[in-house]
């Protein structure tokens, strides 16, 4: 659609809307509902070297304007993703962003090296921020130096641009962003979930079998907007924004904050048709803002421009 095309490292997007990793599986379920080729891109479920079953159930719990999940990176493993899921996805005219996860540096490097060879994988998303995995992985997402080194290692082997997915569970998000920029990242995706918990009112026990989980949905949007606002002013990498996006208006808010594209996660569970709906509604909103192209509004919140008077 006119005015929605976006060019990002490795990605030529028809429009800036894509489902977020872990909220769309490998696309099969949604392919029964609409044509996946209409999406800007697809961020597929995290892939690890070996298959993972993930955490025991319950794996989700509802919260006020949000939800907690502790899926635990369930996935069929690199080989099956590479040989079954990606070739299946190749029938659609849509670039794939492969979400790469692991518990050691070697894990990440191996998945990145292999999966970046798939012809329809146009970019990697380095998941250094999954809160639901117990091993040492937390350091990747919270210590700038560790994140930088991991990014470097992955960049060395990847055949496609590498986006790093930042965790919001840090004191200083700008430091993390700068570190992965130094490490050679081509872009950022942010934010992953906030760490949260809910307790059952009868037993007193955590509702999630994993106890804590990742908080997503509209509740976290103000945190994401703030972080993107800060980071986009301090690094020169493009940002794919996410966290609580439900409507085309939310997409505009993310662009204003500094995002160049937007991913939709939890909202796919509330309304499986949400991505096509947003894509349909965007052109009119962009039009109303008086710009020809959605990219023109990226960072408007902090770029100087003629303040329009909007008081009736």
């Amino acid at each position: 659609m006119k005015g929605l095309q976006v060019e990002l490292p490795g990605l030529s997007l028809k429009n800036p809307i894509m489902p977020a990793s872990g909220c769309f599986g490998f696309g099969r379920e949604f392919s029964d509902l609409y044509d996946l080729s209409m999406l800007g891109a697809i961020m597929i479920k995290a892939t690890t070297v070996e298959p993972r079953f993930g955490n025991p159930t319950p794996r989700v719990a509802e919260t006020s304007a949000g939800m907690l999940n502790a899926i635990g990176l369930q996935n069929p493993g690199l080989e099956k993703v590479y040989h079954v899921e990606l070739p299946w996805l190749a029938q659609f005219d849509v670039p794939i962003i492969a979400n790469v996860a692991g518990s050691t540096e070697e894990d990440y490097v191996q998945v990145a090296r292999e999966i970046s060879k798939a012809p329809n994988v146009h970019a990697l998303e380095l998941n250094i921020s999954c809160p639901n995995v117990k091993t040492g992985g937390i350091a990747f997402g919270t210590i700038p130096e560790v994140a930088k080194n991991l990014t470097k290692k992955v960049k060395e082997v990847s055949e496609v641009p590498v986006y790093v997915k930042l965790s919001p569970n840090v004191t200083n998000i700008v430091d993390m962003a700068k570190a992965v920029e130094d490490g050679g990242a081509d872009g950022l995706t942010m934010i992953n979930t906030l760490l949260g918990m809910r307790l059952d009112l009868k037993t007193g026990q955590p509702i999630l079998a994993n106890k804590s989980g990742g908080l997503s949905g509209p509740a976290i949007k103000p945190v994401a907007i703030r972080m993107i606002y800060e980071v986009s002013q301090q690094v020169s990498l493009p940002i794919i924004g996410m966290g609580g996006v439900q409507t085309a208006e939310d997409v505009i808010e993310y662009f204003f904050a500094g995002a160049s594209a937007v991913a939709v996660g939890t909202a796919n569970f509330v309304d499986p048709f949400v991505c096509p709906s947003i894509i349909n509604e965007l052109p009119e909103l962009v039009d109303r803002l008086g710009v020809d192209h959605i990219s023109e509004i990226t960072g408007r919140s902090w770029k100087t421009f003629e303040k329009s008077n909007h008081r009736a």
Partner: protein
């Protein structure tokens, strides 16, 4: 085919203590082809609550373009649902999942339908379809107490119906399994929906020499197989990587297929 539709409420009744029978009208019933499937309902327009609620389909009336669900007013979502009036619309996604295989029993054979609490509703549509096929049905329905018993008469019209209550205030005192044992019921197949301990007892006692189909419950996110919230291990690989999703592979499984 999965459809998302704003269905109109044609009736909403409290049929037992905190148990509501809700009938909705729309195109959706045209896509409903298996008893035991469920719908995923958004009980409010806004963000509160955020997620949909899975509820089994209890009755399908294609001619009237209506379907019925029966639910217990429990937490925030079902409470909001219970306050809705005829004429209001509800956002329904469905039909979801795989239901009870009616083809697994033949005309003239006997099916035992075992329900517990809010697991009873999907058995109603199933029973109707079985009877229509010429299958003899026996119902054993367990509830906590007299006040929450529902549809006893409706089930009785379709076949012999036993009620059990935990406190003995209606029917037999005890569990459904007690009824099956005491009444020395004979049957060719079991279909069941209810609390996991009940399903486990049926699997343990009967699956070695009967066909047994069980409908499971799990906390859900998407309801369509995308989020991996509702997975369970398969029985042949109880600690491995193989899995089934309750929402899209189930909710009905053959006993022995998944780990209860």
């Amino acid at each position: 085919m999965i459809v998302k539709e704003l269905c109109q409420i044609t009736s909403q009744k409290e049929i037992a203590h905190d148990i509501f029978e809700l009938t909705l009208k729309g195109e959706l019933p045209n896509s409903m082809n298996e008893p035991g499937q469920f719908v995923h309902m958004k009980v409010s327009n806004g963000l509160d609550p955020l997620l949909r609620r899975p509820i089994s389909i209890a009755n399908i009336d294609k001619k009237a373009s209506e379907f019925t669900v029966i639910y217990r007013k429990d937490g925030r979502g079902t409470t909001i649902l219970s306050e809705k009036q005829p004429g209001e619309k509800v956002d329904v996604l469905g039909p979801l999942g795989h239901g009870f295989p009616v083809e697994e029993v033949n005309k003239g054979e006997t099916a035992l339908l075992v329900g517990g609490g809010i697991g009873v509703p999907p058995l109603y549509q199933l029973s109707k379809e079985l009877v229509q096929k010429g299958v003899r049905v026996i119902h054993v329905l367990g509830f906590q107490t007299k006040d929450v018993v529902f549809y006893e008469e409706a089930f009785s019209k379709l076949g012999k119906t036993y009620i059990a209550t935990v406190d003995g205030t209606a029917g037999t005192k005890g569990f459904v399994t007690d009824v099956i044992n005491n009444e020395e019921l004979n049957f060719d197949i079991i279909y069941s929906c209810g609390p996991t301990p009940m399903l486990r007892a049926l699997e343990n006692n009967y699956s070695s020499n009967h066909k047994v189909y069980l409908s499971l419950e799990e906390r859900m996110g998407c309801g369509i197989g995308a989020c991996f919230a509702c997975v369970c291990h398969t029985a042949d690989d109880p600690t491995g990587f193989s899995y089934k999703k309750v929402c899209s592979d189930g909710p009905v499984f053959k006993a022995g297929e998944v780990l209860l």
